[in-house]
Each structure stands twice: as structure tokens, then as C-alpha cells.
């Protein structure tokens, strides 16, 4: 289990990231990592920011650091898939998403990246299956959000 204080810094960092205050967020994540270097969520949170800013090489390296600390970190595998796809490394992206989905089959992003990677690899039938699953999960999330928004 990551250090409690480290987790609190990560939470703080996420609040900054939500407001696009990425420098403050990164500072908070670094504090978390300094408190607990084995804290996979801290490395993963840094990866999220790097990916958001389009630095996919850096994001990939950070995902690997998170995964070195927790090999069963589903979100980190999913983000790694996204980074690899963005770097045109489709075979590896597919492998990363497959691993992410083995850990969490309800991740719409992983299904989507799996779909787009398969499409790029010229496997349209399998791509459609992955897209179908991604859409199904995205619709469920969207309907729940809508229900919350309208109260109906």
C-alpha cells in the first residue's frame, strides 16, 4: 500500500491537474514520490500529465516506472497502450491494451485503443469487436452522467 501522505499529495496534484495547473500538479506528484518512491500512482499521475501535454515518449517512460512498481496496475497498462499508439507502435499498443483489459475488462479507453490499433494493423473485424465493446462502456458511462446531470 502506498504511503498515506504520498496519496494525499497525489490527490492534491489531481486537483491542480483538473484546473490545468500542471506545474503545481507535478510538484505535488514529486512530493508524493519523494515520500514513497515505490508509489506507483505517483509515477502514473506524472505519466498522465506528460500524455496530456503530448509528450508520449516521456509518458511511456513514466508508465513503465509505475508498472515496474506495480505490474498489475491496469490504468498504467491502458495509458501505456495510448502512448504506444500515439507513437505509431501499434503492435505494442495492442499488447499493452490486451494486458490492461485482462486486469480490467471495463476500461473503455483500453478497448478503444485496442480497436484503433487493430484497425491500423489491418485487422478490421477484430477492430470492430473492440470498438463495439468500447462504445457499449462509453454509452453506459454517458447515460449515468446524463442521469446525474438531469436527475432523470
Amino acid at each position: 500500500m502506498p504511503d498515506k501522505e504520498a496519496l494525499a499529495w497525489i490527490q492534491k496534484g489531481r486537483a491542480y491537474a483538473g484546473k490545468k495547473r500542471f506545474k503545481d500538479a507535478l510538484r505535488a506528484y514529486d512530493k508524493a514520490i519523494a515520500l514513497d518512491p515505490a508509489c506507483a500512482p505517483g509515477w502514473f499521475a506524472k505519466a498522465e500529465i506528460a500524455a496530456e501535454q503530448g509528450d508520449f515518449d516521456e509518458a511511456l517512460a513514466l508508465c513503465d516506472k509505475a508498472l515496474a512498481r506495480d505490474p498489475n496496475y491496469a490504468d498504467a497498462w491502458s495509458k501505456k497502450g495510448l502512448c504506444l499508439f500515439s507513437l505509431d507502435r501499434f503492435e505494442e499498443a495492442l499488447a499493452a491494451c490486451t494486458r490492461a483489459l485482462a486486469l480490467n475488462g471495463n476500461d473503455p479507453t483500453a478497448w478503444y485503443i485496442k480497436g484503433v490499433s487493430l484497425d491500423e494493423l489491418g485487422r478490421p473485424v477484430e477492430a470492430q469487436e473492440a470498438f463495439g465493446k468500447s462504445l457499449e462502456l462509453e454509452i453506459i458511462t454517458d447515460m449515468e452522467a446524463e442521469k446525474k446531470r438531469t436527475g432523470r
Binding site: G18, P108, T109, Y112, D119, E120, F131, E138, D142
Partner: protein
């Protein structure tokens, strides 16, 4: 194309196609505060160097791809018209506002005469311009919807399931619009507003084709009119409901859409192709305006004219009210 977002291959190809046709760069970005339909900030409308498409950050997969595709289609149609120096929007001037407000007021008076609980005069006067602006907004947007949706459907078969979900959601939201004001808004305008959305959904249901889009099945208030016989409708209380009337007007508007949206969708998608879609959109808008006897409510002008008019809207409203009510309004 600029942007750090993974996009499905067919949609990405469509973005490149738009960039090539319009000789532009499209920047795609996500924003948690973006409207659900996304937004397009294009250089044909705004003083920007590139064309920007912004989509809501919580959409990550195919829904995001559909939103991007639809905005790209809109950009192509706008851009083709702009390149021919013919891009116009529905705008208004002092006379237009007077024509619109006067007509709404006369219709409101007819409604008020039949009501037991009358609307306070100040509320009635306030409602006139709000309703006018609502139609202005709807008529600037709605006619684009069946055209761009059909275009996306024809060009991007791989995202059709997503499109269907999105349209069902959009149709439901549009049908819910104005319901809370149902007893305040003059019946004619409530019915016309609903009828426009009804016709759009029906048109798309026929074109896509998607049974799930049928308003008579999907909209709770419309359900009772499904499979209702004409004779039954004509001889019962149904004829008096706003929803039944929306269906009747909506069926007429559907005929207008069918006759206005005529295109060879499989033709080579070049600049002429998209320019033709723009002409269809304008023709449809004109035909709907004519059907609703609103032809003198708006004018076709460059976007800048509409921006200026919106700046002056309060002045136009005041002048129109003075022309209608004279000194009584002071």
C-alpha cells in the same frame, strides 16, 4: 492535423481530406467545459489562423470521433461556401425584429384570450424577444443537422452505431426543450419548434435508416400517436393536443426536408460537392421559414452582421416594442 488525441483511422482520414480540400490545418483539442456537441472555431467565421475543433474531455472513444467527424463535415460545408464568398448566416435587423415580435404578440393574444389563467403583461412582453431569439438560434442550427448527419453517415460507415446513439440522445434533449415553458409560449410556436425537431428525427430515421430514431416511438409524449388511425385522430380529443399538432406540422416539415435535401451522396467529394450541401442547407432554411410564415423575420448576411446585430439586440427589441405598443411601453 494537430492534437495529441488518438482518433480512429477513418475519422483521421476525413480530417486530412478536409485539410486538403480547404487548404487549412485543423487543431483538435479536448476541454472539460466544451458543449456536448463540441464546438468549431473556424477561420471562415472568426479571426483565427487555424480551424479548431473542441470536444468534451469526458468523451474518449467513438463518441468523440463522431463529434469530430460532424464538426469536420460542418467545416467542409462552411468552408466551401466561404471559398465561393457566399457563406452567410441568418441574421436580423430592426425591421426583422419588429416583424417577428409583432407576429408573436398577435398569436400570443389569440392564445391568451382562451386562457383562464392569463400571463402577466410584463411577462408576455418579455417572452416575445426570448422566443424570437430562440427561433433565430434554432433556424441557424437545425437545417445543418440533417445535412451534416447524412453526410457523415454516407462517408463514415464505421461509426454509424455511435452516430445512432448520439442522435437518439440529441433528439430526446431537443424534444425536452421548451417543455417547461409550454403553458407560457403561444401554442403555435411550441408546436412549430417541436415539429422542426420531429421532422429532423424522422428524416434521419428514414435516411440512416434507424427505426430507433422515430419520434413517435422514442419521445414519451409522442408514443400515443404511434399506430393511431387518421379517423381516430380526427374525431377524438387528440386533435387538441400540442403534441398531436406537432406531429401534423412535423409531417409537413418532413415533406419539405425530403424535397429540399436532394443530393448525389456518392458523388466525388470535392469543393463543389460541399458547396452544394451548403446550398441545400440554405434552401431548406428558406423553405422552413416560408412554411412557418417567418420569411420576413430574418435576413441572410455575413457572420459579422449577426455578431453586430446580437450586440444591438436590446436596442432592436426596445424599438420593436415601441412600434408595437407606442407610448404604452414607456
Amino acid at each position: 492535423m494537430k492534437g495529441n488525441i488518438p482518433i480512429a483511422k477513418p475519422v483521421r482520414k476525413f480530417v486530412f481530406h478536409a485539410e486538403e480540400i480547404l487548404d487549412t490545418q485543423i487543431v483538435i483539442t479536448r476541454d472539460k467545459d466544451a458543449p456536448l456537441a463540441g464546438s468549431l472555431i473556424d477561420k471562415f467565421t472568426y479571426p483565427v489562423e487555424n480551424d479548431y475543433i473542441v470536444f468534451p474531455a469526458h468523451y474518449i472513444g467513438l463518441i468523440k470521433d463522431f463529434i469530430i467527424a460532424k464538426q469536420v463535415m460542418t467545416l467542409l460545408v462552411k468552408g466551401a461556401a466561404a471559398k465561393r464568398k457566399e457563406y452567410r448566416v441568418l441574421s436580423f435587423n430592426e425591421d426583422c425584429v419588429y416583424n417577428g415580435l409583432r407576429q408573436i404578440y398577435l398569436d400570443a393574444l389569440k392564445d391568451e384570450a382562451k386562457k383562464e389563467k392569463k400571463l402577466p403583461v410584463n411577462k408576455l412582453i418579455e417572452m416575445l424577444f426570448i422566443l424570437y431569439l430562440q427561433f433565430h438560434e434554432d433556424l441557424n442550427e437545425l437545417p445543418w443537422n440533417p445535412v451534416t448527419n447524412t453526410g457523415v453517415y454516407m462517408r463514415l460507415p464505421k461509426i454509424r452505431k455511435t452516430q445512432l446513439y448520439y442522435l437518439m440522445k440529441e433528439g430526446k434533449e431537443d424534444m425536452d426543450e421548451m417543455i417547461e415553458q409550454m403553458d407560457i409560449v403561444p401554442r403555435r410556436y411550441f408546436v412549430l419548434s417541436k415539429a422542426m425537431f420531429y421532422a429532423r428525427d424522422y428524416f434521419l430515421a428514414k435516411t440512416l435508416p434507424a427505426d430507433e430514431l422515430m419520434p413517435v416511438i422514442n419521445i414519451p409524449q409522442m408514443k400515443k400517436f404511434n399506430h393511431l388511425e387518421v379517423k381516430e385522430m380526427l374525431t377524438t380529443r387528440w386533435t387538441q393536443t400540442a403534441w398531436y399538432q406537432s406531429k401534423v406540422f412535423g409531417d409537413s416539415m418532413l415533406t419539405i426536408m425530403d424535397s429540399s435535401i436532394v443530393n448525389d451522396w456518392k458523388a466525388e467529394p470535392d469543393l463543389d460537392y460541399y458547396y452544394n450541401l451548403y446550398r441545400i442547407t440554405r434552401r431548406l432554411t428558406d423553405n422552413l421559414l416560408s412554411y412557418m410564415t417567418m420569411s420576413d423575420w430574418f435576413v441572410w448576411e455575413p457572420f459579422k452582421h449577426m455578431q453586430d446585430s446580437l450586440q444591438k439586440k436590446n436596442e432592436y427589441e426596445q424599438k420593436a416594442l415601441q412600434r408595437i405598443f407606442g407610448d404604452l411601453i414607456l
